[in-house]
């Protein structure tokens, strides 16, 4: 069994994601180049990492969402392959239509990097099953376009379906309903703005992110 991290031009959290995956699985993930047309068959879990794919030109994640590898990822995720999109990865997944809604410029127009406290809105997903539902977790955010938007109807649908997974205790970017992370309707694709891979080691000042990787890897 393998895991994989997708690498776009100007991905910059690809190594961080790989380190976190190796920590949890004991095996370095496959690094899949954006021009590859398919994800290797033995891959059981894929991380679309943070960064500024294509410089975030046009819209964050828009150009990456059109790459060959994302087309393949979309097909495989529809067949059940678990996918985690972090930060720019979340933006890419919404742009690719793999998750509902869109990520707009932060309400105050500024990049924000801080430790954000998150509430678990759904601790029963494959990505959160090992968290204590009552606990809040500390995970860093670092983004310019993390302001989650979905129209009223979509919002009602994802709230009603338990698709909201993380909420900010203190909203850093203007996201509707304080949404920090969501899953798709089948629960195998998670997108989140905070960076769990930056909270997996005591030197990071906290390890609340590791449980997410443990949960999903444990479910494979």
């Amino acid at each position: 069994m393998s895991t994989a991290v997708i690498v776009f031009p100007a991905s910059n959290c690809d190594r961080d994601a790989a380190v976190a995956l190796e920590k949890v699985t004991g095996k370095p993930p496959r690094m899949v180049w954006h021009k590859d047309t398919s994800i290797p068959d033995d891959v059981r879990f894929v991380v679309v990492p943070g960064g500024f794919s294509y410089g975030d030109y046009l819209r964050s994640g828009a150009i990456a969402a059109n790459s060959p590898v994302i087309r393949d990822l979309k097909d495989k995720s529809e067949a059940g392959l678990p996918v985690l999109g972090i930060c720019n990865g979340f933006q890419i997944l919404t742009e690719a239509g793999m998750l509902p809604g869109a990520l707009m410029r932060n309400a105050n127009q500024k990049f924000v990097c801080r430790i954000s406290r998150l509430r678990l809105a759904n601790a029963k997903t494959r990505f959160t099953s090992q968290y204590d539902a009552k606990h809040e977790i500390d995970v860093p955010v670092a983004h310019h376009d993390g302001n989650y938007f979905a129209d009223d109807e979509t919002l009602r649908r994802i709230e009603g379906g338990g698709q909201v997974v993380f909420r900010y205790s203190e909203n850093p970017n203007g996201s509707r309903n304080d949404i920090a992370g969501i899953v798709n309707a089948s629960g195998n694709v998670l997108g989140m703005m905070p960076h769990p891979e930056r909270a997996v080691d005591t030197v990071h000042g906290g390890t609340d992110g590791i449980t997410l990787f443990k949960s999903i890897v444990g479910s494979l």
């Binding site: 819209r59 828009a62 707009m104 410029r105 127009q109 938007f149």
Partner: protein
């Protein structure tokens, strides 16, 4: 041939950028400013072709890349004259 694509937020989508600009202009003493919205213009220089085909192609570009139709709407203008 030049195609100009105007991309703006759909009505109902909050435009924090526009709001910030409006507030800044008011701060600077431009009290007459009541509301601001900001959009993008993407100007494409294209190999010439039949107007209808070109328009259809540009529409496809918008749907696939240039606009995020979850939050944005777009409008296309064609200009046969090379600038």
């Amino acid at each position: 041939m030049i195609a100009r694509v105007y991309v703006g937020l759909k009505p109902g989508v909050l435009d924090p950028q526009g709001r910030t600009i409006a507030a800044s202009l008011n701060d600077l003493g431009f009290d007459e400013v009541q509301d601001v919205t900001q959009g993008k213009i993407i100007e494409l220089k294209l190999a010439s072709g039949e107007r209808d085909t070109v328009e259809a192609r540009v529409k496809e570009m918008c749907e696939r890349l240039l606009a995020n139709t979850v939050i944005e709407s777009y409008r296309i203008e064609l200009d046969e004259e090379e600038e």
